[in-house]
Symmetry: C2
Subunit: 393 residues, 2 copies
């Protein structure tokens, strides 16, 4: 055995995440490690909480990054809020609603599924009907921005309906945070989780979460202990909470937190609303190019998520061959389909640092070549120009 | 709000972890992020598994890093192996045995505690007695190297006893991996977890684990699903397993894995046995200095863990003031006591990259000054010389 240091290539990350990471974030990851109880580190934690509150648009005291990827952020919400026997309405319109169901059931809860077509927003009327049919439901859970399809749901309305029926609302914001309008306090979301490797353009591995006072009350009044020791917020709060003395719970992922701190500083410098606008504008430019080629979006305009563009693979095209050309000849990663959409769609991400004009033009030019070589029935040589017109507009 | 980039100080980390991180590992953390399904990344994952097998001295196929800190590695072992109603013998001789009990109970298991004095190795006879009294026990769990006290237990013997009574053995190797002899296959350990921020000298945030074939059989034959979706090895193996096509489970913490890969390459370059010997030799030098000052170790010589030196705080000394002098005047972090030992001991780590002569001398010189200013009843001006004699020997 003689394994050597690993030197990854420099890719352009336009898949469903991770997205391109800013050199500033990478530089922050490499700063000297200090202790997780060092007073200087505790100051950084306080700043981190303030920055996350800004990104989530919330004053929730319990706002912090879980020390593990978004899937663990999801599980943190469910294990803390769902008690055995609790009925949870889960709206599913893609892969991640299915994962919510798994979480509910592993907590001993009863998941009532409300199914919508993949590639469409969650239908508020169906949620309303489900809640009327299940007056004993305690929680509603849905995905704000479905990474598997690129559909954006109306979180504000869905939370309102949940509250009208005395339910708490758990929201998956993995792909929306930082990229699309998201207002935790104004929309009265009770529990929300996200990831770092999408529109925040940090490296993967952490999961920002936030919990309302109402959610905290439910956690504090649980009859049974939280089944996960690692994710038990009653314990985690001893470290991340506002107490003068932070109690050791687990060793925080110090350098990953440096990276997230820097990513959030960058977001603050740009301004949250400016970031939302940038994601939307760049989406329109990419869309113009893709549509000029004759490619079709999976999601109708009104439900479309700007940072995740799912397009149908043209008939007869070897989709793996196309992605391999992009990766090997252009160092460009786009995403394959996931779950029921595997083999049917490509997912082109325009997230965070990756959402910029240069990436759009490179992606369209590379796709033009790759689709040509794959003999796809598309219009060649028009995509870049169409995108540039929008970018200039 | 105008939060700026965070620039941590350059500390010397001689607490219970994190330990000093090699500049090579920090540089690796800052390399370009690539996708978690990128073929180049999958090659790195295969190398990572080979390197971890080397560090654990195992051929276990299921050897990989959990995407979260050591506490989640512990929980991964318990949630996968403990089913509701399972009786688990937990040997406790410090803080982390207590955490194991929490894990067992949150899995619906029955924890039978075998208590040993804090600062002493686990007594094999007590385990034997507990197993005779509990013939229905299914699992034995213990901590190989107790980070809260610096006691090293005889893992080989304890596992043998567990097997004689038809139990699987779960071993906490958070502080031993890379620093003290640890032979997973030869000792027939069934499930083991560690951390990255101790003797591997990587940043915190990942937890290497390994499972024997016997452990895997128990996981596959479970009657109830694993209560954690994130930690369910049946699912995680789809990504980390040897299959030609890696299935997406969660987004791997890419850059943290770069860091661990580099830390393991460094371990391989040094040689595992050489690393064990270095930790032992440096411990003896530090010990000579501390004892020359008149400071006393908590753990008797035969049970002593070289990489975690717990010493009793001299009477009448303001222990917080001493640690503050070390941190503020010398940029040196040592650890406070934890749990029942809070306020009674200091914990001086000599782990991984931090286990070197320079750190020993700086630490002893700084302690000499700080204890002098704290008017501690110690012998001044002798510690450095005593350590140097051992280092030269």
């Amino acid at each position: 055995m003689a394994i050597k240091s690993f030197h990854p290539p420099q890719r352009i990350l336009m898949g469903p995440g991770p997205s391109d990471v800013s050199p500033r974030v990478l530089a922050a990851m490499a700063r000297p490690t200090i202790g997780h109880l060092d007073p200087v580190f505790v100051t950084m934690m306080d700043e981190m909480k303030a920055l996350l509150k800004y990104a989530f648009k919330t004053e929730n005291e319990l706002t912090m990054p879980v020390s593990a990827p978004g899937s663990a952020g999801m599980e943190t919400c469910f294990v803390n809020l769902v008690e055995p026997g609790d009925k949870v309405i889960v709206c599913q319109n893609g892969v991640f609603g299915g994962r919510m169901k798994e979480n509910v059931e592993r907590c001993g809860g009863i998941a009532v599924m409300v199914q919508d077509d993949w590639g469409r927003a969650v239908d508020p009327q169906k949620l309303e009907d489900a809640l009327k049919a299940n007056p004993d439901a305690r929680i509603v859970a849905f995905v704000h921005a479905e990474t598997s399809t690129g559909a954006l749901s109306d979180a504000k309305t869905l939370v309102e309906i949940a509250h009208q029926h005395n339910c708490l609302a758990i929201v998956d914001a993995v792909t929306s945070l930082g990229g699309s309008p998201l207002k935790v306090d104004e929309w009265m979301i009770d529990a929300i989780y996200s990831g770092t490797q999408k529109c925040l353009s940090c490296t993967p591995g952490l999961s920002p979460v936030s919990f309302s006072t109402r959610a905290l009350e439910k956690i504090k009044s649980r009859k049974s202990p939280v089944q996960s020791w690692f994710m038990d917020l009653n314990l985690v709060m001893g470290y991340w909470g506002g107490a003068a003395k932070r109690a050791y719970h687990h060793t925080a992922p110090i350098n990953s937190l440096y990276g997230l701190h820097e990513a959030l500083v960058i977001l603050q410098e740009e301004g949250l609303e400016n970031s939302w606008a940038r994601h939307q504008k760049n989406h329109l430019a990419l869309r113009a190019g893709l549509e000029a080629m004759g490619l079709n979006f999976v999601v109708p305009v009104k439900d479309r998520l700007p940072q995740l563009n799912a397009i149908s693979i043209p008939d007869g095209v070897d989709e793996v061959a196309v992605r391999n050309i992009l990766l090997n000849d252009y160092q460009l990663e786009i995403g394959a389909g996931l779950g029921a959409m595997a083999g049917k769609v490509w997912r082109i991400g325009l997230m965070g640092h990756a959402s910029n004009p240069r990436n759009i033009l490179v992606c369209l030019a590379a796709l033009d070549d790759a689709l040509g070589r794959a003999k796809a029935p598309v219009k060649r040589g028009v995509a870049v120009d169409a995108a540039q017109k929008v970018l200039a507009g």
